[in-house]
Amino acid sequence: MLPHLRPGIVAGSLLALARALGEFGAVVIVSGNIINQTLTAPVLIAQLITGFKPEAAAAIGTILFGLAFVLVLIVERLVGRREVES
């Protein structure tokens, strides 16, 4: 059973990972956004933009975007291969 499910499980986990990396709304409400303690990357980006530091925000944003892009390409490979096999 597990070998058949593996591509789906991995693809799902990677999308979950991407979602977790980028989560903002729920985190900003519960975390209090304490620097070096509960400040996550998306919340930091939001703070940098409102603090008129778009270059710094763009730097972190590029890293997050790159990660998301790589994850999506891997997911497509996994799911696409499954379609070819079936």
Partner: protein, 283 residues
Amino acid sequence: VSVREIEPPRTSERTRRRLVHGGLTAVTVLYIGLLIVAPLVGIAIAALKPGLSGWTETLSQPDVRHALALTAVITFETVLVTSVLGVVVALVLARDRFPGKRFVSALVDLPLAVSPVVVGLAAVLLFGNGGWFEPWFSARGIQILFAVPSMVLVTIFISIPFVIREVAPLLEELGTEEEEAARTLGASWLQTFLRVTLPNIRWGLLYGIALTTARAVGEIGAVLIVSGSIAGQTETATLYILRAFDEGKDPSGYMVALILALVSIVLLAGIEIFKSREEKELT
């Protein structure tokens, strides 16, 4: 297949199997219950505590009304755009072969993976001071950033995948036989689409629209960045909730949160009910 598997399971094995199934069911109920049902019940209790007078007081505030209306407008425009263009993209992805199709298919999923805050940042960099598109729009006096257009734009971006991902598999499963039959019988392209294709994909389309609505109604990250969150002007319902908690108006925040949650739940449950009812009629 080994011989042991063909024999009827012994009693000990049957109880073990029952224990395993019971355990898995318990984990499922606990997981969904703790992480999904409990917060929902918590919001409902907190929102209903102030009673009817609290609700009329919150709902009569101009800021709250404006925020809910703005969310409705943005969601409506998002659904309109993503369902029309979503069906087009789904048709292309399901029917056409072209170089780089896998890459396009991967790009469709990108809005699910990329952080909404990064989406908002991209909009700021494109439409803000010094951005690529800023001179063109400012020369024509069109305000994009800190106004509704950019809010609709980012909401469309983060909602792109839902209709496509619900409709494309249905189109692949459907094949082209029925459509070709309609065409050979003299139906025009439009007639074929409206009478043959659309009825076949309508549940997928409706489910995609419901998911789009749920995402658009609940969006906060991208909208916060591009809107400036001006109360009574560019403040959506989710942004109002954020401000309500900041300003210690928790009960109002819970009430608006409950409204948003109910919109999504009623839509998704409604489609599920109608779909199963129609499937029963067909069999």
